[in-house]
């Protein structure tokens, strides 16, 4: 009996100590990790999709967060054209062939049309799925389309030409853009409120 108690107590204490240590480490590293993700993944894509914006140098500092509920939030990057914050960009995720796939979607606030999109995180097969990130053919098809609709590749009855040999990746990009549209629909009033301050 004594043995039983000892087993339970030791394992419980060890697990609790581990939990405390990790939650402490998580708090300390979270801001650093956010900066790393920003510099390594989001910034290169932002530079491409907002290359004509007036505030390219400052848009990272002008970013703001919007709460989506369930402890989730989305970071919004505003794009200024002709002195006015006409567009915003934010990231949407889906699952590709090789793992998580992130797509940065820039949308015009007046027309709800996409300014540009770009793949941020990709672990797709080199030479096939990786072309979604490295070549503009797929991303360019979304330019100028309304964001408030659902997208699918031609094989699934949609309008998007999939990358040859990378249908799964192309579907994942469509899914990410579709989910970006849903997010955008639900938070657009808040975005409009926040960009007024810029």
């Amino acid at each position: 009996m004594n043995d039983m108690v000892k087993m339970v107590v030791v394992l419980t204490l060890l697990a609790a100590a581990s939990g405390f240590l990790l939650s402490f480490a998580e708090q300390k590293t979270a801001p650093l990790i956010e900066m790393q993700v920003l510099n390594n993944e989001q910034w290169p894509t932002l530079q491409t999709i907002f290359k004509d914006a007036d505030n390219l140098d400052t848009l990272v500092d002008q970013r703001f967060k919007i709460d989506l509920g369930d402890d989730e939030n989305v970071t919004i990057f505003p794009g200024v054209y002709n002195g006015e914050p006409k567009a915003v960009a934010f990231e949407a995720k889906s699952t590709g062939f090789g793992g998580p796939l992130g797509v940065m979607v820039a949308v015009n606030l007046d027309t709800d049309e996409m300014v540009a999109i770009g793949v941020t995180v990709s672990q797709e097969t080199p030479g096939f799925g990786s072309r979604a990130k490295d070549e503009p053919d797929l991303a360019n098809q979304f330019k100028g389309l309304g964001l408030l609709q659902s997208f699918s590749v031609k094989a699934d009855g949609g309008d998007i030409d999939a990358i040859t040999g990378a249908t799964v990746t192309s579907r994942a990009v469509c899914a990410a853009v579709t989910s970006a549209g849903e997010t955008y629909k639900s938070i657009k009033p808040e975005i409009l409120e926040k960009v007024k301050a810029i």
Binding site: V10, L11, L22, A25, T29, Q36
Partner: protein, 203 residues
């Protein structure tokens, strides 16, 4: 028990070097050694986990009941693996991106659990640290060596860990044998290195 600290440390560098002598930890050895830098990075992350886990298991060896020791080891190891994952994301993000899933997988790396069970649970703190450090650095060297062979043959380049990429075999006359940086090349590279190691006596 007559072994000195130095012996505990150096045995991991040659006599028991994983994965060549202790044929453990093959999954990362095959999975990440496409470049020298990836191999060394993976080795160093594993070393950190090995040293910390050995230290803690050794400190707690009188407290941990034998019946739940494996569960306790896994909790300790998983804690340090999660920690090293967070630290790598915070400070060496591109390397973390390259190693990806192999960092969380250190939890199930047999070398780490094996050292906790076979060594740290039965030995005092200092020898346990020396053992963890030796085995870890041996693993780092082995992964670096395999990475170097695969990278040089497969791409003609050599990435100095955390430094620049040097061109060793000029593209003018050398056609990269890309097979070596793909998955089957890992098996063949590792097999040939195991074979070479077996030609050399271990003692």
């Amino acid at each position: 028990m007559a072994k000195t600290l130095t012996q505990e440390f150096t045995k991991g560098l040659w006599q028991e070097i994983p994965p060549f002598r202790l044929v453990l930890g093959l999954c990362p050895a095959l999975g990440v050694t496409t470049t020298v830098q990836n191999g060394v990075g993976m080795g160093l992350a594993t070393t950190f986990v090995l040293v910390c886990a050995n230290l803690l298991v050794s400190v707690l060896r009188k407290v941990i009941p034998a019946k739940v020791r494996i569960a306790c080891f896994i909790v300790v190891i998983a804690t340090f693996v999660t920690l090293v994952g967070m630290l790598m994301q915070a400070f060496t993000y591109p390397l973390y991106g390259m190693l990806g899933i192999f960092i969380p997988l250190i939890v199930v790396n047999c070398i780490v659990l094996g050292r906790a069970e076979a060594f740290a649970y039965k030995n005092p703190v200092l020898p346990s640290i020396a053992d963890g450090l030796g085995i870890g650095l041996g693993f780092t060297m082995a992964l670096g060596a395999l990475g170097a062979v695969r990278e040089v043959i497969g791409t003609g380049c050599f990435t100095v860990p955390f430094g620049p990429t040097l061109t060793i075999l000029s593209a003018d006359w050398y056609t990269p044998f890309a097979f070596m940086v793909q998955a089957p090349g890992a098996f063949i590279g590792l097999g040939l290195m195991l074979c070479l190691m077996n030609l050399v006596p271990s003692k």
